[in-house]
Symmetry: C2
Subunit: 401 residues, 2 copies
C-alpha cells in the first residue's frame, strides 16, 4: 500500500475568497431584526423610520413663567389674578380665565385662552396675583405642535448607523424598538488533541488553545455575534457532534485545525464525505483550506497554526462579514518596504508588518506558529503570487489588522 | 411674600467643566479590573504583560512528515524502518531509535534523537518502512522552544488597546484574564411627572422619556458602563430613593430635569440641602446645571430639555469620560459657516450643525426641545461667549457628535 501524496493544483486566493463570499452573501437576505432601543447603539437601520406623531404633541411652554393673553400685558407693569399652576405632566386640559394669568412650568401645556408666556424672571408674585413687568407678543415662549417633527416625517433613513443623537430622537417619538441589520451568527469549533484551555496546566507536548478566543474576538470585532465557541479533540464522533450543534445555532461555522496532510485530520476526514472540499490555496500562511455546506450552513475550515488561522480570517472572512454587517470596508494602503522581501513563486504571501513614519517593516518572525510576533504587527503586507523579490523601498499593499 | 427671582452671576463653561473634571478624575485611581479573555476586545491594558512561558514550549514539527536524524538521510533515496507515529498532543516524550524514522504531525513533539523533519510530500511509506526521497539538514522543519517568545519577555505593553491579534498572543501563553482599565460605572436618573416610557399611550400633556435611553447610549458610546437607568416622578421622596440606589451602584450619577426655576424642581430641591450647587452656566442650550457629591459620588444634574441634556453631556461629561476610559480624544475642526449666526452676548452657544463639502450649515431647528432636528446634526458649532455676530464664511470651531 503506497501513501504517496500528490498535491492538487492550488486554487488562487481570489477564487477561494469568491467562493466564500458567494456562500456568505445570501446571509444578507435574513438581515432585519428588531432591537430594543437600549441595544440599538451602533447598529444600522434597515428601514426608513418615520415619526408616528407630532413633536411637540401639544402647545407647551419653553420657560418657567406665566401664561397670559398678550393683550392682557400690553401695558406693563400689569397685575393679574393668579388662576393656578400648570405643572409639566398636567393632563387636565387647563383653561385660562379671561384677564388672568396661570403659572406654567417648562414643558407644561399652555392653557386654552393663553397665547404667550412671560418668563418668571420678569414677574413678581404674592401667590394670589402676579405682576408682569415686561410685555410679550403672541407666541413668545410657546412651542407649537409639530415644530420639531410632524407625524409621517422621516426621522432616520435606512442605512443610518445609530448614534446617541438618533436614539434620542427615536425615543422621543415613543419608539421602543428599531429595525436593524441582524448580526451574522457565527460558531467557532477549534480542533486538536494537543490543545488545552487557559488556566489548566500543560503536559509536555500540549499547547494552549488560542484560536478559539482569537477567532471569537475577530468575529465580534467585525460585527458578527459568536453564538457558540467549542473545542473538539481529534475524535471524529466528537467533532461531528460539535459540528451538528454549530450548524443548528449559527449562520456560518468556522473551524480551525485538522485540514492538512497528517494522519489525524479530523475536520477534513469528517467533512469530505459530507461534500466538503479541501485543498491548497496558493498563499502563505494559510495554504490548507476547506469549504463545506452542512445543512445549508457554510463551514469555513482554516488551518490550525495560530497565524494561519488569523490570516485566513483576515483574507477570507473579514471583508464579507463587514459588508454583511454594514461596517466600513477595510481599505489598503501602498507603503514603501523597509526590508527586502523574498517570496516563493506562485504563492500570494501575507507577511506581518508594522507601519513606521517611513513605511512598513517586517515584524521579527514570519513562521505560521509565531503568534506572539504577530501581536506586534499592525498590517498584513500583501505580496502578489507572481512576485518573488522586492528590494527595500518597493511599494507594497498593506491591510490594517 | 415676594418670589422675585434674581439670577446669580453665571459660571463659565470652562469653570464648570473644570469642576466636573476635578471631581471625576479620581475615578482613574480605581482603574484596574481583571477581565476574562472573552471580554477583553477593545479594552486597554493597565499593566505590561509578560509571557509566563516559552513559546513554543517544546521542540515540535512545523510539517506533517517524518522525524529523522539528518545523517540517516544524507544519501537518498534512503529506506528507514518506521518506529511509530507521533501525533500532536502526544505527551509521552517519544524517542527515535537509531537509524529509524518516526512519523510526526504538525505541532507534534520532535522525538529525542531526531534533528529534522522530512515533509510527507517527499516520502513514500508502506506502513513498515519509509523511503525518504530528499535529504534534509539539521533543524529543517523543527520549531525550537522560545523562538516565538521567551518566558519573561514583554507580550503587550500597558496602554495597549486589545485587538484580536493581541488576544491571540495572550491566549497562546495561557492567560485566562487580563488587567484592563475598569469602565466608569454610571447611573442615570431621569425626572419629571410628564415623562412616559416608550410603548405606553400618552395622555395630553405627557411626552415620551428620551433622555434616559439617550444618556445611556452616550455613556456607553464613550466607554462607561451604565449600571442603572431609572426614572423618578417629581416626588422628592421617590427621587431621594432613586438617588440613594444610584450612588450605591455607580461611580458617577447623571440626572436630567428638575434643575431650573419652576415650582417643582425635584433634583434641585432634594440635592441643595445635601450640599449640591445649582445655578446657571453661561451657555445655550444647557444653562441650568447642578453639581453635587453624595456619599462621595459625583452627581451631575443636567437640564431636562432633550437637546440641553445631550449638549450638557457632550460639553461636560464626554471629554473626561473618554480620558478616564482611555478612548481617543474628540478633536475639533475649524470650518467655514454657511449661514450667518447671531448669538447672545455672554453665553457660549453650542449650535447643532451638519458638515457639507463646503463647511458647516445649521440644522433647521435650534430650540432646546428640538430633538428630532438634532438627529440630523453631526457636529456642535461652538460659538464663544463674547461673539455676537458671525457672517457666512466665518471660521467656527466644530465638535463631532
Amino acid at each position: 500500500m503506497s501513501s504517496r501524496h500528490t498535491l492538487a493544483p492550488a486554487r488562487s486566493v481570489e477564487d477561494h475568497r469568491q467562493r466564500i463570499e458567494d456562500l456568505l452573501r445570501p446571509l444578507a437576505g435574513r438581515e432585519t431584526e428588531p432591537v430594543p432601543m437600549a441595544h440599538a447603539l451602533g447598529r444600522r437601520l434597515t428601514q426608513d423610520v418615520y415619526s408616528p406623531l407630532d413633536l411637540p404633541m401639544f402647545r407647551n411652554s419653553s420657560m418657567d413663567g406665566y401664561a397670559v393673553l398678550a393683550d392682557s400685558v400690553a401695558i406693563v407693569p400689569a397685575t393679574l389674578p393668579l388662576a393656578g399652576v400648570v405643572a409639566a405632566g398636567n393632563t387636565g386640559a387647563p383653561v385660562l380665565p379671561a384677564g388672568a394669568a396661570m403659572k406654567v412650568m417648562t414643558g407644561a401645556p399652555i392653557p386654552q385662552g393663553a397665547d404667550c408666556v412671560v418668563p418668571v424672571e420678569h414677574t413678581q408674585s404674592d401667590g394670589k396675583t402676579v405682576t408682569i413687568e415686561r410685555g410679550r407678543a403672541t407666541g413668545d415662549f410657546v412651542r407649537e405642535p409639530g415644530t420639531d417633527v410632524r407625524a409621517g416625517q422621516l426621522l432616520a433613513a435606512a442605512g443610518t448607523v445609530l448614534r446617541p443623537r438618533h436614539i434620542a430622537a427615536l425615543a422621543a417619538v415613543g419608539l421602543a424598538e428599531l429595525p436593524v441589520r441582524r448580526k451574522v451568527r457565527a460558531a467557532v469549533i477549534t480542533t486538536g488533541d494537543e490543545l488545552v484551555q487557559a488556566g489548566l496546566r500543560l503536559l509536555p507536548g500540549q499547547i494552549y488553545n488560542s484560536n478559539g478566543i482569537a477567532l471569537a474576538a475577530a468575529l465580534e470585532d467585525n460585527g458578527a455575534e459568536v453564538v457558540s465557541l467549542t473545542h473538539s479533540t481529534d475524535d471524529p464522533e466528537e467533532f461531528r457532534r460539535r459540528l451538528d450543534e454549530a450548524v443548528t445555532a449559527a449562520d456560518v461555522v468556522f473551524t480551525s485545525g485538522g485540514v492538512s496532510m497528517g494522519d489525524f485530520e479530523v475536520v477534513k476526514d469528517v467533512l469530505t464525505p459530507l461534500g466538503g472540499e479541501f485543498g491548497h490555496v496558493a498563499m502563505q500562511p494559510g495554504g490548507p483550506q476547506g469549504l463545506s455546506v452542512i445543512g445549508g450552513i457554510p463551514v469555513l475550515s482554516f488551518p490550525g497554526n495560530p497565524v494561519s488561522t488569523m490570516v485566513s480570517f483576515e483574507v477570507f472572512a473579514r471583508p464579507i462579514l463587514r459588508a454583511l454587517t454594514g461596517l466600513p470596508e477595510i481599505t489598503s494602503s501602498e507603503l514603501p518596504l523597509r526590508d527586502p522581501v523574498h517570496s516563493p513563486a506562485g504563492k500570494r504571501q501575507f507577511l506581518r508588518g508594522r507601519t513606521t513614519d517611513h513605511g512598513v517593516e517586517l515584524t521579527s518572525g514570519q513562521g505560521s506558529h509565531l503568534i506572539a510576533a504577530m501581536a506586534h504587527a499592525n498590517v498584513l503586507i500583501d505580496i502578489p503570487a507572481a512576485t518573488t523579490d522586492l528590494p527595500p523601498g518597493s511599494l507594497v499593499r498593506t491591510w490594517p489588522l
